[in-house]
């Protein structure tokens, strides 16, 4: 049971080749310089971008396959995301953000209460994201992603915008969550400490600059 990615993304002069395989219950960290295609890789897994060639398989079933033309819409992929900057809906309260896509039955459950406690959000539930600090926003985004039932969790630089104190806090929460999570985690990070602490495998995007810019993501380094 795993996520298999073997695909190429072409966009104008930019080309990105991704060959990755992540087992359920493990955490893959993707590192590499800016603009090398880390976020695009997450977008392809999430279904926000289609592979130009190749395929993405989850537990043997195609999410995206350029040969058969299959493309599963994002809402049907069972992914959960923390985008760079959080990706919170600025017009909705923290509570509505966290419960986005959940039904009302989810309210007042212990899982919700635990997550609110874990991320220290109790006093923020009725606030709107623009009124929160960067660290608070990121905690809301993580709580939302952790609460969503998913097979794949995608995190795009979840601690980049945080100060040292909240970074440690958020990292501890991520570590605790990854230990009980039985899906696939892909974490994009610039931070070596974070990668060492959280990831079970690491992939680095290598960019070669010849006539066209191309990037390769693969060649797994297993810890």
């Amino acid at each position: 049971m795993s996520l298999e990615i073997d695909c190429r993304l072409l966009r104008g002069k930019f080309s990105l080749d991704v060959q990755l395989s992540v087992e359920r219950g493990s955490t893959l960290a993707i590192t590499g310089e800016n603009g090398s295609g880390k976020t695009s890789t997450l977008d392809m897994v999430a279904g926000l971008l289609a592979c130009t060639e190749g395929k993405i398989l989850l537990h043997g079933k195609a999410l995206d396959d350029s040969t058969s033309g299959r493309f599963v819409q994002p809402e049907l992929r069972g992914v959960s995301t923390v985008f760079q900057g959080g990706g919170l809906f600025s017009h909705l309260s923290v509570e509505k953000n966290i419960l986005f896509g959940r039904n009302a039955a989810y309210k007042n459950t212990t899982k919700l209460d635990n997550t609110i406690g874990q991320f220290n959000l109790a006093g923020l539930m009725s606030r709107k994201p623009p009124t929160l600090s960067g660290g608070q926003r990121q905690r809301v985004a993580l709580a939302r992603a952790f609460l969503a039932p998913s097979d794949i969790l995608l995190l795009d630089e979840p601690t980049t915008s945080l100060d040292a104190v909240s970074r440690d806090e958020v990292r501890r929460a991520m570590k605790a969550f990854f230990e009980i999570y039985d899906g696939v985690v892909i974490l994009v990070s610039h931070d070596d400490t974070e990668v060492a602490e959280l990831a079970t495998q690491v992939a680095r995007v290598r960019v070669s600059r010849d006539e066209t810019t191309s990037a390769k993501l693969g060649g797994l380094v297993v810890k």
Partner: protein
């Protein structure tokens, strides 16, 4: 000595007359309005009928702009399609066209002998010209561009990644559109609706050409003002004053939002 960078001198000389041209007529109307008979003037039969008709037709014209303009604005902001530049230019055309020319065009399209109107009459017995529906269509023709332009700018400002995030959290394309996209553009949507409604309420040229000036059927407030002015009726002044109050109310309700809405979708 003022200690700052000196601006070009004498600009006030030109700026003040420009302001005066707008301000003096407003003062004149306030001054000449017979305030003791104001309510009597705006509630006489002709005025009241015109007011009710104006409110009804401008409501329908604004609703049409909302229903048909929103999808068009979204498509213009988000999709590439053939002749997009042409479609956008055609959407803006009524803004630069003299409204009376728009009315003439509507007449030749939907009038009894018109391009489409002839068939409408022949096949369905529908005659649009010189009806209340024609007044609604004339207002829509003139006012909808404001709605479409403001909303296109608003949709263009929406962070696509937020819509993507909504999709990954289980929202289908429609739900993501309604809960996230429309939620994010709501301030612009309100500004666009008020602006469109105000423009529809003030419509004159296209209405008189396509819908005529029949009291009780197509004589909206601006047409009533015109007719009363022609016959030397003092009530024209009271109705004008009322329209001014409404316009001022619109400006106050929107405050700075109107200008920022026009400039960049109001977000």
């Amino acid at each position: 000595m003022k200690r700052n960078l000196s601006p070009p001198r004498g600009l006030w000389l030109f700026a003040l007359p420009a302001a005066a041209i707008v301000v003096v007529p407003v003062i004149a109307v306030v001054w000449r309005t017979d305030w003791s008979n104001f309510f009597a003037s705006i509630s006489n039969d002709v005025s009241r009928t015109a007011l009710v008709l104006s409110l009804r037709t401008s409501f329908f014209a604004t609703s049409l702009a909302l229903i048909f303009g929103t999808p068009l604005a979204w498509l213009l902001a988000n999709r590439q399609f053939k002749f997009k530049a042409v479609v956008r230019a055609l959407c803006v055309l009524p803004m630069v066209l003299p409204p009376v020319v728009g009315g003439v065009a509507l007449l030749y399209a939907f009038g009894r002998r018109g391009l489409v109107g002839a068939s409408l009459d022949e096949w369905f017995g529908i005659r649009l010209a010189f009806t209340e529906t024609a007044a609604v269509l004339a207002q829509f023709f003139v006012a909808a561009p404001f709605f479409i332009l403001v909303m296109e700018a608003a949709f263009d400002q929406v962070d696509r990644r937020l819509v993507g995030a909504a999709r990954t959290f289980g929202a289908g394309p429609w739900r993501a559109f309604v809960t996230v996209t429309l939620g994010l553009v709501r301030p612009s949507l309100v500004a666009a609706l008020v602006l469109t409604w105000a423009r529809a309420l003030g419509e004159f040229g296209a209405t008189i050409a396509f819908a005529g000036n029949t009291a009780g059927r197509t004589q909206t407030v601006p047409l009533a003002v015109y007719s009363q002015l022609e016959s030397g009726d003092q009530d024209a002044l009271a109705l004008s004053m009322l329209m001014m109050i409404v316009s001022l109310g619109v400006l106050i309700a929107l405050r700075g939002r109107l200008i920022s809405a026009l400039r960049r979708g109001g977000q």
